[in-house]
Symmetry: C2
Amino acid sequence: MRVSDRVLAMQNSPIRKFNPIAAEVKAQGTKIYHLNIGQPDIETPSVFWEAVKGFDQKVLAYADSYGLPELQDAIIDYFKRFDMNLKRNHVLITNGGSEALTLVFLSLLNPGDEVIVAEPYYTNYLTFIQAADGVVKPVTTYAEEGYKYAIKERLEKVVTDKTKMISIVNPGNPTGCILSREDMKVICDFAKEHDLWILADEVYREFAYDGREMTSFGQYPDVEDRVIIIDSVSKRYSACGARVGCLVCKNEEYMAEVMKIAMGRLCVPTLDMVGATAMYKMDPSFFNEVKKEYEHRRDVTYDALKKIPGVVCEKPGGAFYIACKLPVENAEDLLMFLLKEFRDNNETVMYAPMEGFYATPGLGKNELRIAYILNADDMKRGVELLGKGIEAYKAAGHK
Amino acid sequence: MRVSDRVLAMQNSPIRKFNPIAAEVKAQGTKIYHLNIGQPDIETPSVFWEAVKGFDQKVLAYADSYGLPELQDAIIDYFKRFDMNLKRNHVLITNGGSEALTLVFLSLLNPGDEVIVAEPYYTNYLTFIQAADGVVKPVTTYAEEGYKYAIKERLEKVVTDKTKMISIVNPGNPTGCILSREDMKVICDFAKEHDLWILADEVYREFAYDGREMTSFGQYPDVEDRVIIIDSVSKRYSACGARVGCLVCKNEEYMAEVMKIAMGRLCVPTLDMVGATAMYKMDPSFFNEVKKEYEHRRDVTYDALKKIPGVVCEKPGGAFYIACKLPVENAEDLLMFLLKEFRDNNETVMYAPMEGFYATPGLGKNELRIAYILNADDMKRGVELLGKGIEAYKAAGHK
């Protein structure tokens, strides 16, 4: 009656494992600024609700395993903005980007196969890769360098004959690091040279700031047979609870293989796909306001962070995260202090400690990820609480 | 750029792989009676739609990885009907029963670990078990015996030192075979003796006919630490497209382990959980009408099948499937004939050929599964088409 070795090797989500403690704190009447989870406060577009509430079938039936054809078509149209010409069998609708990732790793990795991932990484990648008995091969990045990873020599150092793929999140979670066209070229060439799959998680695609171009790895025809793109409505349309994502790949042989697993799990919820269709069809101008708002939040958050003595971070160019080094030894220990001991006007703050975002033991202990998903005033106050908390933490004799 | 060995070993769903051909046939104007998929025609309860349409939050946010607490509570209340006392951390909400099964196998099986499964089995079990690099150890059952499998000597024959669990679907898919209390005792004792997990997929729990008792493996306290129950709204409430299921287990150490994977995939869609909550709260009298209707359909379907010369089948006691042996050599070949050549009044019929439901090579070639999910008249007509199709198939020189 043992459990599997793979599940024993997994960690509790470093993002979600503190939720039970947070619930207790809130029950005591303390306000917590939740900068720990990428849950935007932007309203889900009204077209989503209208589409869902207008659904008038009497039987909520299974959908096709590929997803609703009208959603596939809306996604195909969306990708035309990036000069990509997709067919329906290139687009598999999934239960959020998360299921798409699980499907990719299960369909590509044999036990022991290696995946190159820049660390710190979105921590659930480790879980998804472990679920497929694969191994994370980290390319370490540094706060001082803005967490850059598209550096050929560093990638070459970690590639082995067991490397099956390189896994990219662009714009990046947890670092907000965003690839330039040159960076993308470096990765494409590297993948070709070593015959690797490129997994391109682009769920933050529109969140590119300071006039940066929105891009996709689907725009590089010379690697189109080896690129698998992950997309999702969660962040882009502030619809995290819809759990609608997709896996996009022009390699039809691959799609036929991954569909075997997708058919086994039957399909994605119909209503959420109906709502997602309406969102994918929205005019791209929808993003203008949203992007402006996030850019402002980033600026406010970054400025506030820089005011805390000893914090190391570069201004990130995309997504809605800032990762940084703190002037304390242990960011998880500080978080426990913030939750259990520190209060300012009966308020405190949560973030994601980043040790669990690293594969290399010992790294990330003094780093954190902040999601700037609250309004600018709340972000400012949240970071202020962090600064005051650090002060109190040190005054209490912690290092 | 190879794919994984596990996905190469998988088959296309024997239930869904003919859908593209069926779509062509329908495009030509031919009506198909779909007896191949367990998609009921019963209307989804109005409480589901009311709950979904009454949802009034502005931001569709991530839910907790365990699921909505109100849905957990509704499920806890539901299981009280079976004298089970559950706590919230015994109930993990999943993307349909399918995701629950995937989570179970990933969390229990090491590569090469064996799962005892009665064959013919619900074919996607093979996919789920292969996804976890596990091995199906079949206990062969027979149409002539009503596909019974709770037979100690036969179970003993397949157990090895690699056996980790026994996997039960009760009432059964694809056979409709239902366990008596004595049968359940046989399985519990067997599991205890060999220290196995019991995976009890009970999504058809209410579909127990001829006055049979509705049961759960959760009613056996002496195995409660080793029983994992799978539940779902799909069949019970005719809400297949909601994709809401759950994994129920009183072993809290196990729940803590499986939650690591569940946290990685974040959560289940919020709206569907809101609707599911309303359905789980319905009065149990809801099932009376539904059960009567299915029992009637079963009788009509069974009687019609028995009229086809050479068909071998016993009347099943539960779920909404009938499996049987046909008087032809190859049920898949017959299905292709029905789709491509046979027409009666421009109508034809689809069923699920069962070869893909067996692990033992060569078995099931002449067997099929019918889902009695259409109204009685349509079921009658569908089986009539099958009979006429077999006649035409033989007249065309096929065996």
